[in-house]
């Protein structure tokens, strides 16, 4: 199965809140899990990525939590700001195939 399921579809939080976006996958051959941030009219920009041998990764205000046994991973945005308002995509990649499989995206709105 090459799908990556993402939820929620949209999310509204207040400034300073911690939005959490969840993704799940089936294919255990996936070995690289990036998150992309996309602003309107722009291409996806790599935010943070993790490999399945690590359970958590932090970069600035962004944290990925990874649960290999449940085949789930999530993005947490600490102290969210209005400038974080964007669409977030999780993705998965496996080394045998040169492509990313994207989730369906989460539209995040951080209100001032």
């Amino acid at each position: 199965q090459q799908q990556v399921k993402q939820s929620p579809q949209s999310l509204i939080v207040q400034k300073g809140g911690i939005p959490i976006i969840n993704c799940a996958y089936e294919n255990t051959a996936f070995d690289y899990f990036p998150w992309y941030q996309q602003f309107p009219g722009k291409g996806p920009a790599l935010l943070i990525a993790i490999r399945p041998d690590v359970s958590e990764k932090k970069e600035g205000r962004f944290t990925i939590s990874f649960n290999k046994s449940a085949k789930q991973f999530s993005l947490h945005i600490m102290d969210s700001q209005p400038g974080d308002s964007a669409t977030y995509f999780c993705a998965a990649h496996y080394t045998g195939f040169q492509k990313l499989v994207f989730g369906t995206g989460t539209r995040l709105l951080v209100s001032p």
Partner: protein, 116 residues
Amino acid sequence: EPEVTQTPSHQVTQMGQEVILRCVPISNHLYFYWYRQILGQKVEFLVSFYNNEISEKSEIFDDQFSVERPDGSNFTLKIRSTKLEDSAMYFCASSSLRATASYGYTFGSGTRLTVV
């Protein structure tokens, strides 16, 4: 920071016409890709290209599509006879290695193709 550059940013074409979307990948990258995103939907893989040949393609990438690296710097996507359903944002991407760990892909800003 190095960028992937795509031109044009917006193209309108009549159904049945041929279009060529252009991309200049990051200069030391070896792998090149096209993805597309229909308005409001997820980003979908079309094709990957390495060492002057297609390394993988999706079901979407049928005989109407072709890719080329004509001069060592540009990477193009050609749609031979456009259909209404080809209307989408097309993203070019490149990566330096088989993308693992944090190497990642770098995406361009996209070409919005509108078929009328």
